[in-house]
Amino acid sequence: MPMLYEFLTATWQTLYMVFISGLLAIIFGLPLGVLLLITRHQQISENKYLNGMVGGMVNAIRSIPFIILLVALIPLTRLIVGTSIGTTAAIVPLSIAAIPFFGRIVESALSEVSQGLLEVGNAMGATPFQIIRKILIPEARPAIINGITLMLVNLIGYSAMAGAIGGGGLGDLAIRYGYQRFDVNIMIATIIILIIMVQCLQLVGDFIAKKLLHR
């Protein structure tokens, strides 16, 4: 069954790309989101210039269409991974697209935390770092989890594009068989796998968010 093997490999590759780049986006996007929030007007460490600069960079990256980012980042990818082709290489543009996206999600999740709670922290004599770690982030956790789900679902879509230019994964499979060889069945099968993937992700994400919400 060579076809089944191809499906399994492609599914694995997609999951690999999505989760590694998702993980990187969380690692870098979380502090980015915190930075974007705390430097806002009347926030813990207001800084108009830093906020403008970082926010500007985030907007710039987010306004580049992913397919162009994919190509534009080839030199950087080569520098980091050593090659610009393959699943691991695709992680670079995927992460770079996801980090600012997730940063904005975190920023908006944190901004929903009521000002009163920050006041409580201040009144208790908490340091700014303690306020972020003990109050801001924990209270925003349900919204952040929802954001992670959203980002992973988006990454599944983006990974299909990355696959198309040599990254492997389900997108690559669908294009090679479905588009170039007109094999509709393969196309449909990949779409079904993708739908199941998104569905499962959403279920798990919603479940965790609900667990954390306590409402």
Binding site: G116, V120, M124, G125
Partner: protein, 346 residues
Amino acid sequence: MIELINISKIFRSGIHEFSALKNINLKVAPGEIFGIIGKSGAGKSTLIRCVNLLERPTQGDVIVAKKNLTTLSETELRHSRRQIGMIFQHFNLLGTRTVFENVALPLELQGLSKKQITEKVMPLLTLTQLEDKHNAYPADLSGGQKQRVAIARALACEPKVLLCDEATSALDLHTTKSILDLLKDINAKLNLSILLITHEIEVVKEICDRVALIDQGEIIEENDIYSFFTQPQTSLAYEFIKTSLKHDLPFNLKDKLFEHPVANSQAILRIIFHGQAAAEPFIAHLMQDFGIKLNILQANIEFLKKEALGIMIVKTINAHDKLDQAMAYLKTKNVNVEILGYANAI
């Protein structure tokens, strides 16, 4: 315990300046419950937030537990703030933490061990009657329970001072009473100074020892609770207390009153007594020693922080020239008496 010296606060936005507090001077003694009452927008919240410098006053000194907070560095200020508990109108509990964890938060921030934290939190939950709720989340609590959690949390660091910003305004009458009882209880048990702000005169009446009236950023009246209720100095103070105490003449008599005695008229007196005076049979004395009979037109007993306050409106009968002597006698007994006017004998 708390001393505010010449506090002013000016909010600036662009070219607009708004003077929210003007030259506030205030002293809260150790173990005292001090109330600040005022209408919406008077500057109450701004004032109480100045005490722990959540709001930095534009001018003036804030002294809490003998430390001048306005001169401290950020680190020192954070340290001092731990000795100042604060509770809020909307409770401000962390929704993702249980009751226990909410109370534990200030202790965690101080870096206490799990064991130390449990040792401190459990008695506080007992004090605030929340033992059986320690694993509940705020969303599952009633308003009164939430405020209890907030109180327990405010007490976690063993503060010397508790600030209450409209702590009962979001609660119904019954729950308000139970929260005020709790505050009274901890004030007595822990000998804690409490500064509370409110727009409800009932709160002042229930628990305060002293009260200040704030209007448009200025303290226009300050007094102990008895004097505040019995001898209001400003019309605003009068406005506040009259919703709470029956002070006035019955309206059917009001129109028939003369300012000065006329033939056959009788004096109408308002007699206010509290504390020791309430135990003296002074009405009997008036009759025996001065031959003055009293016709009681209206009488009621109010409770100001547990002590009774009696307010009577009486018509004297056949007082004549003895009235002055009788009034002097009453004053020696610490009974507050005042001639409201004169009415015809019938």
